[in-house]
Amino acid sequence: MITIQSLSKFYGTHRVLHEISLTFNWGEIHGIVGENGAGKTTLFQCVAGLTSYSGEIHYDRGILKNELGYLPTDLFFFSKMTGMEYLQLVCNARGIKNNRITDGNLFDLPLHQYAETYSTGMKKKLAITGLLLQKNEVFILDEPFNGVDIHSNSIIQEILLKLKELNKIVLMSSHIFSTLNDACDYLHYLKGGTIQQSATKGDFASIEEDMKQDGIGIRVADIVTGML
């Protein structure tokens, strides 16, 4: 179980997250939604321990970061590094002796090509494969469906359900509401650095409605007309 208590994050004087409190139990998939810049990625980075914060994050099985697989939105792959070497690197980093990496190639990626030559979707699939090979207990997936094709989309959905079945904790974000509807047990709406609303499966429509309402106030048509 992961318990977040009063988590706040400031960049200089700018408050990005304010007094966030959430609990994630084993075997649950939690979705975080919010507009661009709402603080979703910052929240993920705080949980992962990639950035400093104030407040408490408690994990009941030891050191969280050593059992956590994080899929960032902006993936970085070294130049002149093959897909296979990337997977080898992430396994080595966790001390996992895996001589059969190719067996875990569930997306049929060309692992002997340089990862930098991969398309956006292929890069995402490579990173997801790496997270699975690491045998993580907790997964943070920031926009896992971005840039992947329909076939891979369903594979990722299947992976999510399997992770739930294996009693893992999954925390994810997505701008595609339908993907969250299918996979998540809970949904949290992040706005202005705070959790505005949390909903359980079946009640996600209320959050979707709230988000749409928040967007209506923007005079998009007027602004675009002015620009053109």
Partner: protein, 310 residues
Amino acid sequence: MITYFELQYKRLNRSLSAFGLNPYLGLLLLGAFFIVFSKLSYTKLLQLWPSYAPYLYALLPLAAVYALGNKSRNNFLKNIFTPKRYLQLRLLENSLIALPFCIFLMCMQQFLPSLVAVAGSLSGIFIQSVSLPTYSIPTPFSKHPFEFAIGFRKTYLLLFVLYTLGVIGMVVGNYNLGLFSLFCLFLLTMNYYSTPEPPFYVWIHSVNAHQFLQIKIKQSILHSLILVSPLALLLMILNPVNAYIVAIILVTGLLYTVTWVLGKYAIYPKEADLPQIIKMALGIFMPPLILILIPHFYFKSLVRLTTYLK
């Protein structure tokens, strides 16, 4: 288009500031460096190939022009500028690169080669870097990526040249050339640790900072030895009387490498700034200093890495 060049000027100033230099002083130093570099390389070329030296020097700006041929950069420029503006911009950009080389050649009374420098640079707009191949170059370091696996692929031609030089040195009885090649091999492999990786690649390790540094140091020593030992062994076997010199270079080279590894993490995740480069360079020019620098960098690295490793 003016905005584009203003932006490039701002970016250069920001890079100099990030390096720890006042931008104006940095520009002055860059100018001074260019003059010294030109003087030295021109003189050297004159010694080696007196008739062709000015023309060979005139080809130097092509290297910089080639870097501007980066495919994604050019696609971006084509995307935001009209075809006519794009052509003007590339011609102007390449001319600016050729200009200092051209002025230097004119100062040397080499008017025709100075025209070659301009013409060569302008023709550089037709050079565009090739796409990456779908195959990968095999390396002996694939099981333990990433520094040496990537470094090997980026510098395999240079490695080949250094090994060839070393072998030539042995064939013609120039033992010092062999030793020089061995030393250069170390300088090259140290360079594999020059750029800090993004924090994600440190964070993924399930070890503490102390263990992380141990792994990095062990790997750097092992991988360096794999790369240099064939030449080192040849040098030792062919001239056993002087084998101790090879051993000294090996030990010094490995100590340099460890210093470089720790130097990188001592200011992580920032890139090496001027004070850090001075410290590391001092270690190279005054080897006994390494004994102070290694523990100094080690403890600083521990502090830096603890942010990402628990």
